[in-house]
Every structure is written in structure tokens, then in C-alpha cells.
């Protein structure tokens, strides 16, 4: 797991975001997307760092250690890793981290299933960049979101 950027406002005792700040962990193999999202989120007041997962099979453990405010979880993780099992693990072991499912293939069945399993939101990679950012911020603020194609 790589740690957030050095300007991250993290409480060292609790590793929770301090004040109104928030952190994001993006569980996805698309590093182009993660890098771009991190750059974009640095424009957002309160964003204090992006976590990355180095070993997808240990995603839940890495969430438990980092305790990010938001987990963006790609549905199609390589290597046969089951994203829904990761969701269940996060809900069980790190319930304070709010999971947003993220996929290029949104599915009504998948939306219903993952929202029932404890996800706070569902964002399609076909949504606009603004809706992706707004979706993250709304979940930080306690709302549920479903952002499909524009």
C-alpha cells in the first residue's frame, strides 16, 4: 500500500481524516485513472491524500490499516479477485470507510446487490469527471449516490 501525499492531514493517533478532510483509496488496476483522479482531487478543499493498493488479494487488510474515508472499488479487478467479497470484507472490518463501487459496466443487478451489501454509492466510468468528483464529495457528506452515464 502506498501512503497519501505528504500534505495529507491525517490524525496520527487515529489515522482518521482530521476536521473536514477526507482520504480516498482507489482499488483499481488502471493507474492512469488513479493518477489523474489524485491530481484532480488535489483541487478539492479537504482532500488529504490518495491510498493505493499494491496487492489486490489483501485489499481488505489495507483498508483496515489505512482507514480511508472513501474506498473507490472497481468491479473488474484482475487476477480473479472478487470485488463483492472485498466490499463485504470492508463493511465487516472497516465500517467507517464508505465504499463507492466503480465500473465501466454498470448493472442494475450489481447496483441493487452491492447497495444491499453495504456500498454507499455506484459510479460509472462513463459518467462525466464532474459527476465522479461530486459523487465522491456527496458520499463524504453522508449522501448515497448512483451516477451512471450522462
Amino acid at each position: 500500500m502506498s501512503t497519501p501525499a505528504s500534505n495529507a492531514a491525517i490524525d496520527n493517533d487515529t489515522m482518521k481524516p482530521s476536521g473536514n478532510s477526507f482520504t480516498v483509496m482507489f482499488i483499481d488496476d488502471n493507474t492512469l485513472l488513479i493518477d489523474a483522479l489524485e491530481r484532480r482531487l488535489h483541487l478539492v478543499p479537504g482532500f488529504s491524500g490518495m491510498f493505493r493498493v499494491s496487492d489486490f488479494t489483501k485489499s481488505v487488510e489495507e483498508v483496515v490499516m489505512a482507514r480511508p474515508t472513501i474506498v473507490l472499488l472497481d468491479v473488474d479487478i484482475p487476477g480473479g479477485v472478487d470485488a463483492e467479497a472485498i466490499l463485504a470484507g470492508i463493511v465487516r472490518s472497516a465500517p467507517d470507510s464508505r465504499v463507492i463501487m466503480c465500473t465501466g459496466h454498470p448493472s442494475s443487478a450489481l447496483i441493487g446487490r452491492t447497495m444491499a451489501a453495504g456500498a454507499w454509492g455506484f459510479i460509472s466510468k462513463g459518467a462525466s469527471s464532474n459527476r465522479l468528483i461530486e459523487g465522491i464529495l456527496r458520499v463524504v457528506g453522508g449522501e448515497a449516490v448512483i451516477e451512471l452515464e450522462d
Binding site: N30, L43, G104
Partner: protein
């Protein structure tokens, strides 16, 4: 000399083989299109995010800002195109990936580019889908593949017409929408015959032929829709009938009381209502309501509303407790969790 029975059988077999080959080719193209759509999305979103970052720079000259706007517009076009391509996946029609409802205006926004690119350059394509049209009960991919099958089956004929034109428009009836596909080119040897709405489908084709018109009709039938052909001297008109969606809570006039403890579940319920333009009654509004959404923990709080709201529908997220109120005028809805609530809301 008339052909003998054996010759006729062989000809029929050849036709069937040719048709199957045709359909399989479309399926392969659909799979390729869907794969390309996935890759496009993985590329487009990072570009859009980087454009946001560049646009936020205060030192950017006006000309560069204008360039960025143009690039963003192109990227958004690519994103719509990728969504249109994704709808062509053969798997998408058999096991629809997206929600089982379609808003025609946004469906067309995604699918238009694919249709235009499929037809000859000089073809004219027009469509009229007002934003105000109600939701229809069919997945976007099933509708996309039905329309694409109509176009592909007649595509060779489009090249022989000086001004090929395709027009799509909708008329509304009580419980159905009729999507008319009107074109001035035709080639319908594989098209189902004209028949009355609601009459049984008489297809002897292999239903695994997902891209054929028979398969399209059967898929539409599964969602309460249909596909009918009418031929005049001037043009061929296909009418796709689509059932209106009438899910829970679609009437803005409905009064809904939400009594849910769990913060996340409450957020989800609010989202579902917000998406449908409905809002919950204020906590201090003690008047009768049409629908109560509660959970096992808040059921005692719901009792007052139940007793003052004859005929109220009650959604209990989680199973109804054995000692729950047994009131004859209450209709308990089978909504056990948030996933089922999604289905109930449509």
C-alpha cells in the same frame, strides 16, 4: 421445371446456414464493439480528469482554454460513443447489464453516433425523443439491438437509395409507448411478418441467434413489448411497442413517510426518492400518508402513521417482525432489503 422436394430442402438449409452465419458475424462484431467501449472508457476518464486540472490553472491563456474546451467536447463525444458501442454486446441483451428501464432521450444521446456511423455517409438520421417521455420497461441494450438489427438487415438496400433516410419518433398510448422506425430503404427477408399487436410470436428460429429480428422480437416480448412491421409504397415502418414503467413511488403526489435508523440505508432511500422527484413528508407532519418506509427498529414509531392512514402501503426493510401490527387495511410490501427496494422503485 419446378424444383423437387430435395432441391427445396437443400435451398432452405442453405438459407438457414447463411442466416446463422450472418447472425454469428453480428455477434462477433457486438462483442468487439463492447470490448472497445470498455477500453475507451478507461482512457477517456483519465483524460477528462487531467483536463479539469489544466482548466483550473489561472495562468492559462484564453486560446489554450478554448482548445481545452474543444478537447473536452471531443472526449465527451467519445464517452457517448463508448456507451453506444457497449449496448451492442450480445451478452447485454440476453442478461441485460443495466437497469431494466430506459429513458429514450438519454438512450438516443448515447446510441445516435453508432447509428449514424453504421449508415452511409449521405444518409439522413432524425429522431424526436422529448425529455418528458416516461420511462419504458426495457433495458437499453435490448432496445439498441432491436433497432440495430432493423438497420443492419436493410443496410445493403440503403446503398441503392439516393437519399437514404431513417426517422425515429414516439407516440404515447395509455400504457405503452410506440417507437416508430421509419426508413425509405428495405430488405426484409428475415423480418417477422406483419401481425396484430399482442398476437403470439411464431418464431421457429433458434433463440440463441441474439441479433436477429426474431430474437429481437422475443427479447422485447420478455419485457412486455413487441415489434411490428408495416409496409407502404413509400416506406417501411417498424413499430416497437414498449411498456411504460409504473414503479413504486412514481407519483409526486404520493405522501411518503421515511422512518429509517441506519444512516447509510436512510441515504439510499433518500437517493431513490430524489431520483424520482419525490420527497418525504416532514417529521412534524402527522397527516395521513400513502407509503411508509421503515425498518424493524422504527416499526413502533410507524404504528401511529399506520393507524391514521387507511390503505397505507408499508415497506419494512428487513423482515416483518412476528409481533408486527396486524391491521387489515395495511398492505405489507415484500421488500426485505435495500436491493429489493431498488427493484420495487424500478
Amino acid at each position: 421445371m419446378t424444383p423437387g422436394p430435395d432441391t427445396q430442402l437443400a435451398a432452405n438449409a442453405n438459407d438457414a446456414e447463411r442466416h446463422q452465419h450472418h447472425v454469428q458475424r453480428k455477434e462477433v462484431l457486438g462483442t468487439l464493439a463492447s470490448g472497445m467501449a470498455h477500453e475507451l472508457r478507461n482512457i477517456v476518464m483519465p483524460v477528462l480528469l487531467r483536463l479539469d486540472v489544466l482548466s483550473a490553472s489561472a495562468e492559462l491563456p484564453e486560446s489554450a482554454r478554448s482548445d481545452l474546451t474543444s478537447i473536452r467536447k471531443s472526449m465527451r463525444h467519445l464517452q457517448h460513443l463508448s456507451e453506444g458501442l457497449r449496448l451492442l454486446s450480445p451478452d447485454a441483451a440476453i442478461q441485460p447489464a443495466e437497469r431494466p428501464t430506459t429513458r429514450l432521450a438519454s438512450w438516443w444521446a448515447d446510441f445516435r453516433s453508432v447509428v449514424v456511423d453504421t449508415l452511409p455517409m449521405h444518409a439522413s438520421v432524425s429522431a424526436d425523443f422529448p425529455e418528458t417521455l416516461p420511462l419504458v420497461a426495457v433495458p437499453q441494450s435490448v432496445l439498441a439491438q432491436a433497432v440495430m438489427s432493423l438497420i443492419l438487415d436493410a443496410l445493403p438496400a440503403a446503398a441503392t437509395v439516393s437519399h437514404p433516410s431513417l426517422r425515429l419518433y414516439v407516440t404515447e398510448d395509455d400504457d405503452v409507448l410506440r417507437l416508430s422506425v421509419e426508413k425509405n430503404f428495405r430488405r426484409f427477408e428475415q423480418t417477422p411478418d406483419s401481425r396484430a399487436i399482442g398476437s403470439p410470436t411464431r418464431s421457429h428460429r433458434d433463440t440463441s441467434m441474439r441479433f436477429g429480428l426474431y430474437a429481437s422480437r422475443e427479447l422485447l416480448n420478455q419485457y412486455g413489448g413487441d415489434l411490428i412491421r408495416e409496409v407502404t409504397d413509400e416506406h417501411v415502418q417498424i413499430t416497437i411497442t414498449l411498456r411504460r414503467v409504473t414503479p413504486l413511488g412514481t407519483h409526486p403526489a404520493q405522501r411518503i413517510r421515511v422512518l429509517v435508523e441506519d444512516q447509510r440505508v436512510l441515504a439510499v432511500v433518500r437517493l431513490l426518492m430524489q431520483q424520482r422527484g419525490i420527497s418525504a413528508v416532514e417529521p412534524n407532519d402527522l397527516g395521513p400518508v400513502d407509503l411508509i418506509i421503515c425498518d424493524a427498529g422504527t416499526l413502533p414509531l410507524a404504528r401511529h402513521s399506520i393507524s391514521t392512514s387507511p390503505g397505507v402501503d408499508v415497506v419494512v426493510l428487513g423482515s416483518k417482525p412476528a409481533d408486527g401490527p396486524e391491521l387489515s387495511e395495511v398492505r405489507w410490501l415484500d421488500v426485505s432489503d435495500v436491493g429489493a427496494l431498488f427493484a420495487a422503485f424500478g
